[in-house]
């Protein structure tokens, strides 16, 4: 607490001297950003929003960073009074949530305090924060990186993870090494083939002096408690290879016995494989990805008291579905199933040359993407306190998610641009923990932008979604049904914008969601105010998701940086 106070005092003293990035303390600089989001919502029985007892909800944060040569120190003040809808109530409160001091030398880097780190693709370790998900799993402790020679990096981490305003019970330790062969082997220095190899190891310690009853034999009157491992380890090896426009990335990870609430206390070791291949040249790029994940949820507590299900993850399984931006294409985002899934994705981007038959006068961009995610093909062999199941390595299980989208963007004239998108999405509600049939959705989007002059731009967006899902009161999923949407956005004087939109479930669904948004931007400061109805749904970023309840009212957001 004393340390936090000292850091805060230091930061505030510095800020008092200057509000802008200026030289202080012999060449040091202070920079930062502030974001304040607020919400007022009231009840609407049709969309399912409720009155907010405290009337105003707000999430606010200020990141302040001081740098002076190789030294830097920073802190983040957060205030949730009270947390906005969809954010965990455990965040309520305010204070310094994150602080650190760091030295970044040529060979050696050391950070003490809160820090974010990633080994490889994150299969065994990735700590990060995402304000829009309400997620922060930063480690609090020490982080060391050492570069003994050019092309070799060794990293070490030690600490406990942030858990809202507390720390998780588990202690995380990890090391990682990465070697760029082209830097280490002289004969490869000039080679067009670039190869990087890496390996990591992470272990978590958590007290195993807890009683979890796995089985009760009522006939013999005997009960059995789980024999829990106090130390759980995960390791990975990886490779990154490129040659000209070609690229290949592979990582394989394994995890030792890790019985926990998420995997229903089974002892099957976890494993994950991630493969990615790419090719690019001028006007064309293609990428294919595949992954197989089996019991690879790795958290620093076996059974955290966390209703979001997203806190205290040590690792991260990369998402390989496209992050759609249009409303109806992103209505059913895919949430990574760390307990088990297989996935494939293909992505092609093509630039048709201008002044050609297909490319038109100004050229045309085509983007095709498709992903399929399935469960594993498993055979149950037992429950809690056993290995749980056996899984075929190659066979596919139930379909979880599939989509294909084709986006064609063409500049029609010097002032106008049209983007048309067609998407088909198949979604299995079991990935959100609900039973039910697969949903099949067809989505069509037209997005037209017209530049009136240098400072005035108008944009129209129309979307339609046809779905075989129907609204069911028992399930109460308000995304069901057929939808239409319209949006008009007008940017004027380069600083102001206003947008009007409405989403309406015209068949087999419920809800009409009109909204208006106003925005003003000057320099690094942006203010946005919105009023209207927000449909309940799920926001996913990188396969990690947050449930967002319906709201009906005012929202505002102020961001600035210095």
């Amino acid at each position: 607490m004393k340390t936090r106070f000292l850091l805060l005092t230091l930061a505030l003293s510095v800020l008092t001297i200057t509000a802008n990035a200026q030289s202080v303390l012999g060449g040091g600089q202070v920079s930062g950003n502030i974001q304040i989001d607020g919400q007022i919502s009231r009840a609407d029985s049709v969309i399912g929003s409720s009155d907010v007892p405290s009337k105003l909800l707000s999430n606010a944060r200020a990141d302040i960073l001081y740098t002076n040569g190789a030294f830097s120190a920073g802190l983040r003040f957060e205030a949730y009074q009270k947390p906005m809808l969809g954010f965990a109530p455990e965040y309520e409160g305010q204070g310094i949530a994150n602080y650190f001091a760091s030295y970044q030398g040529e060979r050696l880097s050391i950070t003490a305090g809160n820090y974010y780190e990633q080994f490889g693709n994150g299969l065994i370790l990735r700590t990060y924060e995402d304000r829009y998900l309400g997620l922060d799993n930063s480690l609090f402790g020490f982080n060391v990186a050492y570069r003994p020679v050019t092309g070799v990096t060794l990293k070490g981490v030690l600490g406990k993870q942030r858990f809202y305003w507390e720390k998780g019970a588990g202690l995380v330790r990890g090391i990682d090494g990465e070697v760029s062969l082209n830097d280490v082997i002289k004969a490869m220095a000039e080679s067009k083939t670039r190869i990087t190899l890496g390996a990591g190891f992470v272990s978590k310690y958590e007290d195993n002096n807890v009683t979890i009853i796995s089985r009760v034999d009522d006939v013999e009157g005997v009960q059995y408690k789980l024999a829990l491992p106090a130390n759980v380890a995960a390791g990975s090896v990886r490779m990154d290879l490129s040659h000209g426009g070609w690229g290949l990335q592979a990582e394989y990870a394994r995890k030792s016995q890790d019985p926990n609430k998420m995997n229903q206390y089974i002892y099957k070791p976890g494993e994950a494989l991630f493969l990615s291949g790419s090719y690019s040249q001028k006007g064309f790029s293609a990428n294919i990805q595949a992954k197989r994940v089996d019991n690879m949820g790795f958290r620093s507590e076996r059974n955290p008291n966390d209703k979001t299900g997203q806190m205290l993850y040590i690792n991260y399984v990369p998402a390989i579905t496209k992050q759609h931006t249009y409303a109806f294409l992103s209505m059913y985002p895919y949430a990574t199933q760390t307990t088990g899934e297989m996935g494939f994705q293909g992505d092609v981007m093509l630039k048709l040359k201008k002044e050609t038959l297909l490319g038109g006068k100004y050229g045309t961009d085509i983007h095709i993407n498709s992903a399929v995610i399935t469960g594993l093909d498993t055979t149950i062999t037992g429950g809690m306190g056993t290995n749980g199941y056996e899984a075929s390595y190659c066979a596919l299980g139930d379909l979880y998610y599939g989509d294909v989208s084709v986006e064609i963007a063409r500049k029609l004239s010097k002032q106008s641009k049209l983007t048309c998108t067609y998407g088909y999405v198949v979604f299995n509600p079991i990935t959100e923990g609900h039973a039910g049939h697969l949903h099949h959705n067809n989505v069509v989007v037209a997005d037209y932008t017209y530049k009136i002059n240098k400072k005035n731009v108008i944009r129209f967006e129309a979307e339609w979604m046809g779905s075989d899902s129907q609204y069911d009161k028992n399930v109460d999923d308000k995304r069901a049904g057929d939808w239409i949407m319209g949006l008009v956005e007008y940017n004027f004087t380069s600083a102001f914008f206003v947008s009007l939109s409405d989403q309406y479930a015209y068949n087999d669904g419920v809800g009409n969601y009109p909204s208006i948004n106003l925005g003003y931007t000057k320099g690094a400061t942006r203010l946005q105010v919105g009023y209207g109805k927000q449909r309940e749904g799920i926001v996913c970023i990188g396969g990690v998701c947050r449930q967002v309840p319906a709201s009906n009212g005012l929202t505002f957001s102020l961001t600035t940086s210095f």
Partner: protein, 286 residues
């Protein structure tokens, strides 16, 4: 050289941390004989009444204790199942058993007595109802006066209950399964605990009487035998919003020294911080 040392240190650390491998013994578990509390979603409680919980601190060598027993028995008759009482024999001088008599003292009873200042005060009998506090001081009540008890019980029963609780038990092959159902009737801000204990009635043993004589055939009632959970209870692992129902199951082995037919299970909900009791229920041991 330096880098090799660094790599060697990191590698040895990796091996040192490593992981624990659990060998399977027809499953990754061991036999467990202790008390385990299991939480799951419950169902609404049928009887949502507010009840009061009286803990009497007593002793077999305390001459005024039989007077308290009479007063409490009268109050229990008047309030019926809305007043639950237990007798705690701590480790003070008044509780040392007479030769050839059963020992009613328990470690749990002694812990409670020390916490509430009964042992230190040395005034027996005494009682506390719903573990009430006056400020931060335990509100100890002289249980020899029925009016003292009824005044406090009336005040408690006049309150709108925040939680309702019911308890049931069943025994099979020597293991008793105790099930409690808890329903939140109002939003509760504070963390709550559930405490389960077992009491025994109709125990004949020597007791000092108010006239200074010994009654070798005194019938002791609701004697605390054991606090089944931790003495301060186990945290109730559920939402605390109105309408939430939580079911708890505990498996317990009843001592063969006790007469099952005379035993009862008492279950009560407390504020984890202040330890004040919010509601209580009891059932016969089945």
């Amino acid at each position: 050289m330096k880098k090799n040392i660094f790599i060697a240190i990191l590698a040895s650390l990796a091996f040192a941390w490593s992981c624990d491998k659990i060998e399977s013994n027809n499953g990754f578990y061991d036999e467990f004989a202790g008390v385990y509390v299991e939480n799951e979603e419950g169902t609404p409680v049928a009887d949502k009444s507010q009840r009061a919980f009286l803990e009497k601190y007593t002793g077999v060598r305390c001459v005024n204790c039989p007077t308290a027993d009479e007063a409490i028995a009268a109050q229990m008759a008047a309030y019926g199942d809305r007043l639950v009482a237990i007798s705690i024999h701590d480790s003070g001088a008044f509780t040392r058993p007479f030769d050839g008599n059963p020992d009613f003292r328990t470690d749990d009873g002694n812990t409670l007595s020390v916490f509430y200042g009964v042992a230190a005060g040395g005034s027996y009998p005494t009682s506390i109802i719903n573990r009430s506090l006056v400020g931060s001081t335990p509100e100890l009540i002289d249980p020899t006066q029925g009016a003292n008890i009824s005044a406090k019980v009336d005040a408690i029963l006049a309150q709108t209950p925040k939680v309702a609780i019911e308890v049931a038990s069943s025994t099979s092959n020597g293991t008793t399964k105790i099930t409690t159902n808890i329903e939140f009737l109002q939003d509760v801000d504070n963390e709550l605990t559930l405490t389960l204990l077992i009491i025994e009635d109709n125990i004949t043993a020597t007791q000092m009487m108010p006239d200074g004589t010994k009654d070798n055939n005194y019938v002791h009632g609701h004697v605390l035998r054991d606090v089944i959970t931790d003495v301060w209870g186990t945290v109730i692992d559920s939402d605390r919003r109105a309408g939430t129902c939580n079911k708890t199951s505990v498996r317990y082995t009843v001592s063969p020294a006790w007469v099952n037919a005379n035993c009862k299970i008492v279950a009560f909900i407390s504020n984890a911080a202040t330890r004040e009791v919010l509601n209580v229920a009891e059932c016969h041991l089945h």
